[in-house]
């Protein structure tokens, strides 16, 4: 795809959990699932000056959800919204400022925490506390608009009818949020920038590691499309695919709009559409789910004028309008079937024709059916109609959720900008020049600087150093490299290749770190050769309780003396005497392979080579 021609623009929003205690209380930032208490709440959109409520907030409230919260020892009255927040965590503020300085951003003179209205229950307060720490940064030519410090939301652990269940453990963990400008020009570049920002965050050494500790939101638009925010991207590698899919989806929706306009469809055509009861048509249907639903429900239908062939997909079937309509229905607790996919599911051609007749569909008209309890069916079709109206405008501005297969689904409309008011319970924090100076002096190395230094200091290849830094194991490497001088290459190989190998085999690679000292000590004492390291660690992965002695015995790595080595080599050389005499010195290298087959791991390769050379020279002299 030609992203430049499409007018592709994307920005990133990266949320990284910090490894400090929580932002507004002294609870540990740890997920703990031994729940000791539970309580239930409802939230209500607040009235603004003119009694206006936020659009997104209103939609959440309309769904009438109840929220059930589960508390463990990782939360206190603050997370339960039963105690005012404490003053903001100073360590977290320092980390956020450090990140801001690394991104060349301007730190504000005084930090003011805000309340950002969120009433899906993920915050017990009904708002997320968030503060702007710095503005106007940049990385690799991409602008960094804002760096914020905010509290993480509660963790959704289930949904049961109208009740949504949340664990409170995650609520309040400090998050640094980095928002780039929409300067990103391709899906691949988005991934690279996300990776770079991730490295900078990790460089502070105060961020959490592991699944769910960093989350990416993507903002993307194309020409004639609209800004769409995609939430909850967990893996960097998924970014390009998700963005590519969103571009296709927007292209599809632009096509939908063009086609509808081409057919002369206007908003008023949809406004006069009535929901029609078509249950009668399906009295003797062979469609199983309709038969089942009709026992205590209804089949209602709406006509979608001019939508024929459009709902099922025009350019990209995968991104058809039908998916969007279905999601709107799903939000109301029901489902739909549309005429572009019929006859199907046991719904006959005759039934389709009958529905068309009842709704007075003409050639270009489509229809949507919903089956089930009347109240839900009505809500579903109403929602579908709302979404169909949006189709006339093209791509709606909205928030979508990333799915594991690289697709996305509708979550909620894009919230209005005016959803913030000051968190008056938290005092503002003055950031002095002295503080900035102090943090500047302690700034960690940039990833590039670190790679260069590691190449020089430890005689690593650039690729090795780069891999170590990107894998996040550079600190481990340095810790061992400083202790075991001369073994840098071995250590790098263990951290990069051996650990990966162990993971591939399906074992827990953390054993490597636990056994690293034992193995390196053994190597230093020449108990075995460096070729044995991988074998030993693989053995430890399978037998974590084993001692080094046991591992060596089990891997056939008994210590072998120089004399024994010489005896083995001598016998091999004598066996191949003719070959040696013919090839003279050139025989050494092919013989090395034969000898190492016997001695691999039991003797140091360099030593073996030395003795082999001596033995070959000895027979040649004789």
């Amino acid at each position: 795809m030609d992203y430049e021609k499409l007018g592709f623009r994307a920005g990133l929003e990266i949320h990284q959990q910090l490894a400090t205690h929580k932002l507004f209380c002294n609870c540990p930032s740890e997920l703990k699932e031994e729940y000791t208490s539970t309580f239930e709440r409802v939230l209500r959109p607040t009235q603004s000056e003119l009694g206006e409520v936020d659009k997104a907030a209103l939609e959440e409230a309309r769904r009438g959800k109840k929220f059930v919260y589960f508390a463990s020892s990782s939360s206190c009255l603050v997370e339960a919204d039963e105690e005012p927040p404490h003053a903001a965590n100073e360590e977290a503020i320092d980390v956020a400022i450090t990140v801001a300085l690394l991104l060349n951003a301007d730190v504000v003179d005084e930090i003011h925490f805000m309340r950002k209205i969120v009433i899906d229950g993920s915050n017990t307060t009904g708002f997320q506390r968030t503060a702007l720490i710095a503005l106007n940064g940049s990385i690799d030519g991409i602008g960094i608009e804002t760096i914020c410090l905010e509290e993480d939301a509660a963790r959704k652990i289930g949904e049961d009818g109208k009740k949504v269940k949340y664990a409170l453990d995650r609520l309040g963990i400090p998050l640094v949020e980095i928002a780039t400008a929409p300067d990103i020009k391709s899906p691949e570049q988005a991934k690279e920038i996300a990776e770079k920002i991730g490295l900078i965050l990790r460089a502070t050494k105060k961020v959490k590691r592991g699944i769910g500790t960093i989350r990416q939101d993507l903002n993307v638009s194309i020409k004639e499309g609209n800004r769409v925010e995609i939430k909850g991207v967990q893996e960097l590698k998924d970014i390009p695919k998700i963005l590519e899919n969103e571009v296709k989806r927007q292209i599809e929706l632009i096509e939908v709009k063009k086609k509808l306009i081409g057919r002369g469809i206007e908003k008023k055509d949809l406004e006069k559409i009535k929901i029609t009861d078509v249950s009668k048509i399906f009295e003797n249907t062979s469609c199983k789910f309709i038969r089942k639903a009709l026992k205590e429900g209804v089949v209602f239908a709406i006509k979608l004028p001019g939508f024929k062939g459009i709902i099922g997909g025009i350019k990209y079937k995968e991104h058809r309008l039908g998916r969007e309509l279905a999601m709107y229905a799903k939000m109301e607790g029901g489902g739909i079937v549309h005429s572009d996919e019929l006859p199907n599911y046991g719904i006959s051609k005759e039934e389709v024709e009958e529905v068309k007749k009842t709704l007075r569909c003409s050639k270009n008209d489509a229809f949507v059916l919903s089956v089930g309890k009347e109240k839900i069916v009505r809500k579903c079709l109403k929602a579908v109609l709302e979404r169909a109206k949006e189709a006339l405008k093209g791509v709606p501005k909205e928030v979508r959720r990333a799915l594991p297969d690289g697709l996305t689904e509708y979550m909620r409309p894009m919230p209005g900008a005016a959803r913030m008011y000051p968190e008056t319970d938290v005092p503002p924090i003055r950031i002095s020049k002295q503080k900035i100076q102090k943090l500047k002096k302690k700034l960690p190395e940039y990833p590039e600087e670190k790679i260069e230094r590691m190449v020089k200091q430890y005689r690593l290849s650039k690729e090795e150093a780069r891999q170590l830094v990107y894998s996040g194991r550079e600190d481990l490497f340095e810790k061992f490299a400083l202790e075991y001088e001369g073994y840098e290459k071995v250590i790098a190989r263990i951290l990069l290749n051996v650990m990966a190998e162990i993971e591939r085999e399906g074992y827990d690679s953390s054993i490597v770190i636990k056994k690293m000292e034992d193995v390196l000590d053994g190597l230093k004492k020449k108990l075995f050769a460096k070729e044995a390291v991988e074998t030993l660690l693989l053995f430890f992965a399978q037998h974590p309780e084993a001692s080094l002695q046991e591992a060596m015995e089990n891997c056939g790595l008994k210590k072998i003396s120089d004399e024994e080595i010489r005896t083995i080599i001598r016998s091999i050389v004598e066996e191949k005497l003719d070959f040696v005499k013919e090839k003279r010195e050139k025989a050494i290298s092919p013989l090395m392979g034969v000898v190492m087959k016997e001695l691999r791991g039991k003797a140091d390769g360099a030593l073996v080579n030395k003795i082999l050379r001596e033995e070959v020279e000895r027979v040649l002299k004789a």
Partner: protein, 415 residues
């Protein structure tokens, strides 16, 4: 001049910031200008070395509320505002939160209320509840009596800190209640989506429409949004600084629990009577409430009681003070100044027969305050001194549900 609400451009160190000027925060430093950026965030900018230019002057927004609906088929409840955060409004543009300051704003605090009744709203005064004084109790009592005598039960929105003081005072002052007087507040202000204000206010209004003829407090029964307790005004105390279930009935069960439309009564309550309510609002404010502590100096004690017309002591355990204070107490009673003993345990009854200090206190002429809460006994004594001839008799009598003749066994949990 730059004013709050103006849109400005600030240039500092070659960087340009644009935003709307916000009010100065009490803890903000002097030379800090707070602006709201277009993305909604507030930031503080040090004015040193700044160039500021006004782009657009802010304009005062007019607040307008719709007309309060009236349906003659529905009963009318009087909603009296005294301050507190049960009705407040957020201006998202400036972020300012202001409490309801007009009758309309108060009435529209929760528009759903109009589904069940008409609301006649009045802002009586706007005070943080820690600033409320006995004079204000008198105002509230007179206002409540006026509405009740018009056939309108009363809901009083009140800050939670001293709500139980006000409610107890009204319980003593209002005689022959022909309708309910319901105090209500919020532990989380109503500008937050998680506020308890809405559930409390709705429940209070529903309680006002029952046949209860008492002064009560209606507040959350637990930290869940699943119902409110109806507390008797003289038996309730704020027992937590921040939880929404802070209000607890002490030495008594709540009158009942209201959840949505269901009311479960736990015991007897006074039904609304016929006839007119009388507000006997006189008080003798010259009464001291003294919390005894170990080693309290006699001189300090004497300073506190000097010139008082009555004393209430929150004593230790069954109702004790150090023996060294007993002579000073004797001096008071000899002069005919009543000294009422309550317990700082709050839970349980005073009994001065059990230990020798107690017996000495009885001999010194103190009045045992039974199971009255110290602050309730204090308010009662102020009222009794101004309204009753036989002070001691009145203090020992149950006037407004403040004394429980028997404390039921609740073995599991007395709190």
């Amino acid at each position: 001049m730059i004013e709050v609400g103006d849109e400005v451009e600030v240039v500092k160190d070659g960087k340009t910031y644009r935003g709307i000027v916000m009010p100065h925060h009490a803890f903000s430093e002097k030379n800090i200008l707070i602006i709201k950026l277009p993305n909604g965030y507030n930031i503080g900018i040090n004015l040193k070395g700044c160039k500021i230019r006004i782009i657009k002057k802010g304009r005062k927004k007019e607040r307008k509320m719709g007309e309060i609906p009236y349906d003659e088929k529905k009963p009318t409840v009087a909603l009296i505002g005294t301050g507190g955060t049960i009705a407040s409004y957020v201006d998202y543009e400036t972020g300012a939160v202001h409490p309801a300051s007009t009758a309309e704003e108060l009435a529209f605090a929760m528009p759903e209320i109009f589904d069940i009744c008409n609301i006649e709203a009045k802002i009586l005064f706007q005070k943080l509840s820690e600033n409320i004084k006995p004079k204000d109790w008198q105002k509230m009592a007179r206002e409540a009596a006026k509405y009740l005598n018009e056939g309108k039960p009363v809901v009083i929105a009140h800050g939670t800190d001293t709500m139980t003081y006000s409610s107890a005072a009204l319980a003593f002052m209002l005689k022959n209640l022909n309708g309910a007087v319901v105090f209500v507040g919020s532990q989380r202000s109503s500008d937050r989506p998680s506020s308890d204000a809405f559930i409390n206010l709705m429940a209070a209004t529903k309680v006002a429409l029952t046949d209860i003829g008492e002064v009560v407090i209606v507040m959350h029964s637990s930290i869940s949004s699943n119902g409110c307790f109806i507390h008797r005004a003289t038996k309730v105390r704020k027992m937590h600084s921040s939880r929404r279930d802070a209000f607890v009935s002490i030495n008594a069960r709540p009158i009942g629990l209201i959840n949505e439309d269901k009311i479960e009564f736990y015991g007897e309550y006074r039904k609304r009577s016929k006839g007119k309510v009388k507000a006997k609002t006189k008080l003798n404010e010259n009464v001291a409430l003294i919390h005894y502590y170990p080693g309290m100096k006699r001189e300090d004690f004497e300073k506190m009681i000097d010139g008082k017309d009555g004393i209430v002591i929150a004593g230790t355990g069954l109702g004790h003070v150090g023996e060294h204070l007993i002579p000073a107490i004797k001096n008071l009673t000899r002069k005919g100044i009543p000294v009422v003993i309550t317990t700082q345990c709050l839970y349980g009854r005073v009994n001065l027969n059990v230990y020798s200090t107690g017996r000495k206190l009885i001999k010194a002429g103190v009045i045992e305050g039974e199971d009255m809460l110290p602050e309730v006994a204090w308010i009662k004594l102020m009222w009794v001194l101004a309204n009753e001839k036989d002070v001691e008799k009145a203090m020992r009598e149950n006037i407004a549900g403040e004394i429980s003749p028997r404390l039921e066994i609740d073995a599991k949990n007395f709190i």
